[in-house]
Amino acid sequence: MQPGDLSDAPELTRPGGVVSARPLYFFWLADCSGSMIRDGRIQALNNAAAEALPHMRRVAKDNPNVDVIVRVLRFSTGAQWVGDDPTPLARFVWPPLQAGGVTDLGAAIRLLTEDLRSPPMPKRALSPVVVLLSDGRPTDDYELALRNLLQLPWGQHAVRLAVAIGRDADRDVLRQFISDPNMAPLEANSPEALARQMRWVSTVALDAASSPRVGMVTESEHVRNIPAGLLSESYPSAGPEVWFDDEPGS
């Protein structure tokens, strides 16, 4: 057969190998220290997460070219991944977390850092979303761990958000964790507020991170992952209610 003669040619096969949606890793970093037992905070967290899941799935369904993968990392005395592997959102079930121990945030950030190396992070992934939920102040050296995290490209460019549970959460620490220096921690002073904030990060932040509108460089500096306007417009207020006590975190 001469080049260009398709008379006896089979249908041309699409070039390249397997094609799939881009992965977007969504990490929950959950404070499971002893203070989370007070006023049923850990139960409120479990309930809020379970409640947020359908909303998260709805957003993911609206972004069929994004494959959302979820991991939960609990930290108290030390830190552990909950479950062995990252789980596709469609199969993800929030694990009921138990509280007890101290607040080893540094250990959690170190574990996260290992997961944000490439590999295992695929190069074609979208910027991951990392949500830190905490009601206290760290009991280990979180600063070194955070510096190491921010040395990684994926650590630097992750959408890093934080939810302050109760009034005693160390907001300075949470501010250091957040990727946008103009953004404050999300306030959750009641079970309702916690549910609202978790629903927000599960939907608005996920949707923004999934959008083709995200990301460019200006003046050789990387701009924030989520356009500032979107965050400020969507940012839910803390609300007036205060159900959680002012007890110091563990």
């Binding site: 390249g16 074609r124 460019h157 990301g215 990387h222």
Partner: protein, 305 residues
């Protein structure tokens, strides 16, 4: 190199490409913000192709225009290079072109953008939709932000330049694939360097390669909407080899005819982003190939660095 009249050309370059709007752009009512262009001359003594991907960021309110201006600037700069160098003794100075071409293209693009802004300043609506009118007003060129990949073949040399994401590979006569440019480790997730950046000149990557010593037959360049659609990290390299094989088997015109539909289905099943791909190929080299390698030919990730 000068070919005497009647002598058989050692290389005869040609190029084609296609660009499609991504399904995510359709959902979000965004236009196709990619652009592609090809040009050749002097009976195939030279050919150039360029692909550009206007940024999806909200500040880049004229990204589609910026991408088209980038492709225009690249094609014109390549033609100018050829015109300037064709009569010089010593042949095509690929190394000098690789060094100069980014500056010529970036300067030309910026001038085009500034002319465009002078003729049509950013509107109140565009500033409002950017989400940060103050930032955009202070540096309106950001509205046109785009990436750019250019592959220029002249006789026995290929010059490649790139700023931002996307990818470009070469396929050799034996079917091996290699990257023409070094990786830019700053390009993570959806982050990219930009022609609109004040650091654009230093953000360019450029290389030149000798076609004969490397036995190059085909160069394939694509925007990230296509490159990132493949599950495997070497998916785009595999696509480059497949395209090379298809050109051998069914001819370039048939591949060109099918290209847009391949881009569309790849993007729809993958990133959902605009997808653009261009192929630069040596028609003489392809004619001379008498036997294709086995399907299992290894893809190398070496590069000329």
């Amino acid at each position: 190199m000068t070919t005497s009249p009647g002598a058989r050309d050692a290389h005869r370059w040609a190029a084609f490409g296609a660009s499609v709007r991504g399904s995510a752009h359709v959902r979000e009512a965004l236009p196709n913000q990619d652009a592609v262009g090809c040009r050749s001359g002097d009976s195939g003594r030279w050919a150039v192709t360029a692909v550009a991907d206007g940024h999806g960021h909200s500040l880049a309110v004229r990204a589609d225009r910026g991408a088209h201006l980038a492709v225009d600037a690249a094609l014109e700069a390549a033609r100018s290079c050829w015109e300037a160098l064709r009569g010089q003794a010593g042949g095509f100075a690929a190394a000098a072109v690789a060094e100069e071409l980014p500056t010529v293209m970036a300067t030309s693009w910026m001038a085009s953008v500034q002319r465009d802004l002078a003729e049509a300043p950013l509107t109140a609506s565009e500033l409002a939709s950017s989400g940060n009118a103050e930032a955009l007003s202070s540096y309106p060129e950001t509205a046109y932000g785009t990436t750019l990949i250019v592959a220029l073949a002249v006789a026995g040399s290929i010059v490649t330049c790139q700023i931002g994401d996307g990818d470009v590979v070469a396929v050799k006569r034996d079917g091996t694939v290699f990257r023409l440019l070094p990786a830019d480790t700053r390009l993570v997730g959806t982050k990219t360097t930009s022609l609109a950046s004040r650091s654009a000149l230093s953000d360019f990557r450029a290389s030149h390669v000798d076609v004969d010593s490397e036995a190059i037959e085909v160069v394939v360049a694509a925007t990230d909407g296509y490159v990132n659609s493949f599950s495997a990290e070497d998916g785009f390299a595999a696509a480059g080899r497949d395209l090379w094989r298809l050109i051998h088997e069914v001819g370039a015109s048939s591949v060109e005819g099918a290209l847009a539909s391949w881009l569309e289905s790849t993007s729809t099943d993958g990133t959902g982003d605009d997808a653009t791909l261009a192929i630069l190929f040596d028609d003489v080299g392809l004619e001379d190939t008498v036997r294709l390698p086995d399907p299992g030919t290894t893809i190398s990730d070496g590069g000329i660095l």
